[in-house]
């Protein structure tokens, strides 16, 4: 919808001595909000994104290097975390980094009567009883990352997860289309 996030990826580049890791690449994520300085919420999201990306990027192929991902929030109209996840994945794709699988972010909002809304707007998020965000991977539709806001029952979570896995197919199709469009020009 109206949420937009700009992702910039730099790497693999040289890294300073202390951060260097002989096992593989060191991933760094910086998330900049639209207004204000990054706060604790941003740090927590950065950690989520970093761990998700670390799981897919084949760091072992580029030891002692750093990969930096910078995300700038241009506008927030709901489902911000999923938008960041999708932007990060497309950035990784565009940079040509070796990945074990793709991932996509899906947000579900649970309404008061148990109705599931995928990709909610800011208004729907506020009115929802619970908002769940999942990062689903492309190979086996397994859950890479999960966060919830608000409480829900276990069955509702499973339903949201199933809905998110189905929605992941549409998003992966979109990835394929955009990449095809870019390289066919």
């Amino acid at each position: 919808g109206d949420t937009s996030v700009l992702a910039g990826l730099y790497g693999p580049v040289e890294v300073k001595g202390s951060k260097e890791s002989p096992d593989g690449a060191t991933l760094e994520v910086l998330l900049r909000p639209k207004v204000g300085l990054p706060g604790v919420g941003e740090r927590s999201r950065e950690q989520l994104l970093r761990r998700t990306c670390e799981a897919v990027v084949l760091g072992a192929l580029h030891p002692r290097t750093a990969i930096t991902l910078v995300l700038q929030v241009l506008s927030d109209a709901g489902s911000l975390l999923s938008c960041c996840l999708n932007a990060a994945c497309m950035g990784l794709l565009d940079a040509g980094l070796p990945l074990s699988s793709l991932f996509c972010g899906v947000t579900c909002a649970l309404g008061a009567q148990g109705s599931i809304v995928l990709d909610p707007t800011a208004r729907q998020e506020q009115e929802a009883r619970a908002v769940l965000t999942f990062a689903i991977d492309s190979t086996e539709r397994k859950v890479l990352m999960a966060t919830t806001k608000g409480s829900c029952s276990v069955e509702e979570m499973q339903q949201c997860l199933a809905a998110a896995q189905r929605a992941a197919d549409t998003i992966f199709q979109f990835y394929r289309d955009s990449v095809r469009r870019k390289y066919s020009k």
Partner: protein, 271 residues
Amino acid sequence: FRTVEPLEYYRRFLKENCRPDGRELGEFRATTVNIGSITTADGSALVKLGNTTVICGVKAELAAPAVDSANKGYIVPNVELPSLCSTKFRSGPPGEEAQAASQFIADVIENSQIIAKEDLCIASGKLAWVLYCDIICLDYDGNILDASAFALLAALKNVQLPSVTINEETGLSEVNLKQKNPLVIRKHPVATSFAIFDDTLLIVDPTAEEEDLATGTVTVVTDEEDRLCSVHKPGGSPLTGAKLQDCITRAITRHKEVKKLIDKVIRSIKP
């Protein structure tokens, strides 16, 4: 062998379905809790999960409520991982782990509605309580999120708020320290953490060594009605829905044990 090739050392144990410290894969470390240890704080609790030691102190102060929510007070959690608890942390501004943990605790408080913010209001639009919850880790041996959540819950149960009246003529507040009321705790959220190894194995309550070797972690917070307050899985190896369900069932069992422990301790301090 353990220092040279820690992962292989661990794998050998995992093949036999146990861990170097003698625990089963699904067994928690010994949990002890000590309530009311800090006399200068309004509420406090010390929790030990094996070697991981976390202390939580709650201080209550008065403030004017925000303009858009005039009848709500504030709860401000802050998790600190000082350099004394582990060589991993340096002194200076809070690192990423401390900030992520603070955000996690704030989310748990918000999601589980452990305290209704309306309860913290004294006079709508004029005066409300602010609860500063400082959670400090004294010894870091893994599973900091579980210990912090538990310490927070125990400390909040221990908090006694003095009654406050507003003097009609002067408009000032008068705090009556002699008359104290305990806080109304609505829900009891309990966090359970798991570490994922090699995309398949799930172990409960990881130590610091296990956390370093793990390929991912999951934390599930449940409350007494078996509802999920939070599922926190920051990246790491992918999990199928069935595995996640397994984690949730174990978290629910753990919740019952922890609740019994807390109730026992609360009952023992009441005269």
